[in-house]
């Protein structure tokens, strides 16, 4: 029992680090800087100016927090799905599935570093907010904020796991990712009040990651307590678990079908 657990933890951790280095295309410093450091900065400027212009509201913090949190999806969605889908391109899939390794440990391991990376991404976004838009953190409970950020990154990673599998199946992960990322920009409430969306759109908002996390982040930064946002956090966590579970089922199914049809090496 313990031995198996130990082995699976090792598959998870070693896979976490090595798969991140091996499969994440943005790991080169220049690329990383452009997408993860400068990216959120430009999003933020764009939406703060646009938003202020359209809504006439003077409150930059709404957009600053929304876009800082949206940075979670950069890691959660692009990073994680690239790490899942990447094995197809390198031809490593057939060797990976040829091992007796526990598939859940293997699968979740590929997301782990992106969690850390995503948390860092949100922090970078918030730092930009403080530096440029004078985001006020004086009322913030940082422990609560840390929990909000971690949960949100987790839920986007859950979706990334699913999208990565979709990428394995459709062989076009980037198209899927880009579509989802931009849909999230709208539906998650990063740049519009969810309550101002039409009812059907609000239904979508309630089913995607980020929505509850962004709402919670705004409340916590505004000085609300952890207890106040706890239900939002639970919801956000559950969304992540559901997507990750769907992703894992797809991953298993993909392996079984590919071995039956002989498509493991098709790309």
């Amino acid at each position: 029992m313990f031995r198996t657990l130990n082995t699976n933890i090792r598959i998870f951790l070693q896979g976490a680090y090595l798969s991140y280095v091996a499969l994440f295309a943005w790991i080169q410093p220049a690329h990383y800087l452009a997408t993860k450091v400068m990216g959120p900065f430009f999003y933020m400027i764009f939406f703060v100016l646009m938003g202020a212009y359209i809504s006439g509201r003077n409150d930059a913090s709404f957009y600053v927090i929304g876009n800082a949190m949206q940075a979670a999806a950069l890691s959660g969605i692009y990073g994680v799905s690239m790490s899942i889908d990447g094995d197809r391109w390198g031809g490593t899939l057939i060797y990976l599935f040829g091992t007796p390794a526990n598939r859940l440990a293997l699968f979740l391991g590929r997301a782990f570093m992106h969690l850390l990376d995503g948390i860092l991404g949100v922090i970078i976004g918030l730092v930009w907010g403080v530096l440029i838009f004078k985001l006020d953190l004086s009322q913030t409970n940082f422990l609560a904020l840390a929990l909000v950020i971690t949960t949100t990154v987790f839920s986007t990673a859950g979706m990334g796991l699913m999208l990565g599998c979709l990428g394995l199946i459709t062989r076009n992960v980037m198209l899927v990712n880009n579509t989802i990322f931009f849909l999230l920009l709208v539906f998650s409430g990063a740049n519009v009040e969810v309550s101002s969306l039409p009812a059907w759109a609000q239904t979508i908002s309630s089913m995607v990651p980020l929505t509850r996390g962004i709402a919670a982040a705004r409340l916590v930064i505004d000085g609300q307590s952890l207890a106040m946002v706890w239900p939002l956090l639970q919801g956000e966590f559950l969304v992540g678990v559901i997507y990750a579970a769907i992703g894992f089922l797809m991953f298993r199914q993909f392996e079984i079908i590919a071995i039956r049809r002989g498509t493991l090496e098709a790309f």
Partner: protein, 323 residues
Amino acid sequence: MNVIEVSNLRRVYNANVGAIRRSHKEIVAVDGISFHIEGGELFGLLGPNGAGKTTTVKMLTTMLIPTDGSIRILGLDVVRDAKKLRSRIGFIYGGERGLYWRLSGIDNLRYFGSLYHLDPQATRKRIPELLEMVGLSERGEEKVEGYSRGMKQRLHVARALLHDPEVLFLDEPTLGLDPVGARDLRTIIRNLQAENKTILLTTHYMLEADALCQRIAVINKGKIVAEGSPAELKSIVSDLSVIEVEVFGSVDDFLPTLRAQSFVDALSIENREQKQVLLIQSPAGAEAVSPLLGLLAGVRVGKVIVREPTLEDAYIRLVEEDV
């Protein structure tokens, strides 16, 4: 004792044909083959492109489900006991893909070590031994993207050996290597056999099969057309002679007539620089030369040689026979 038992193995692929009006086409890649391999044996599966070698190896290594028939390895069924079997076999599918190019050779091995449930201490000890064995000791720390093709293929061998498997499947291990690289890899394979591993190797190089294997099965169009030791296979053509005729210019128009002659048992063409060489297997030996040249009237003919058949001639005969 038989370590591998294959009986009536068949595999049919469903291929999509046409991009717009999609239809399905059935491709019979492996068509009812049976063979067995004993413990410690080095067995060669020899066949031309598209013969079904890779398809067979994929089924043997649990990575493809047979359409029909059965495979037992070490007493385990490849479909039902796939997971158990995976920790006892090692495999490479040839070529340089299938490694994490952005990781070092050592990190590739470390990662696969954990996937094979190896104890980290044991892996740490084993990696330098394996690198030594495949001649990569000096380069293990470097990223794989900087490796030459031969180095990548040797790293694959090390990866396949990490968990010290009892049975090893090598699908065209020397594919694309230069003569020296191929020879080095063959030495490695020979050493593995000395460690008493059971090895199945596929290749389309006759000489490689001859040099390495105790037994060879020749596979063509999904069927095994002959099986035996290299010497036994050579005896298939022992009653024949081979006539090599150098010709300049196209002889395609003559081929049907030549093939129809009673003294021509098999005919193939080799391209050598500007000239072509007709290889004719004939029971008539030297007697056949003058009628042959008569039939080639109008063709510029160079050297003509009559010689004893080799294993390669046996191979050519086997894969040409049912064309």
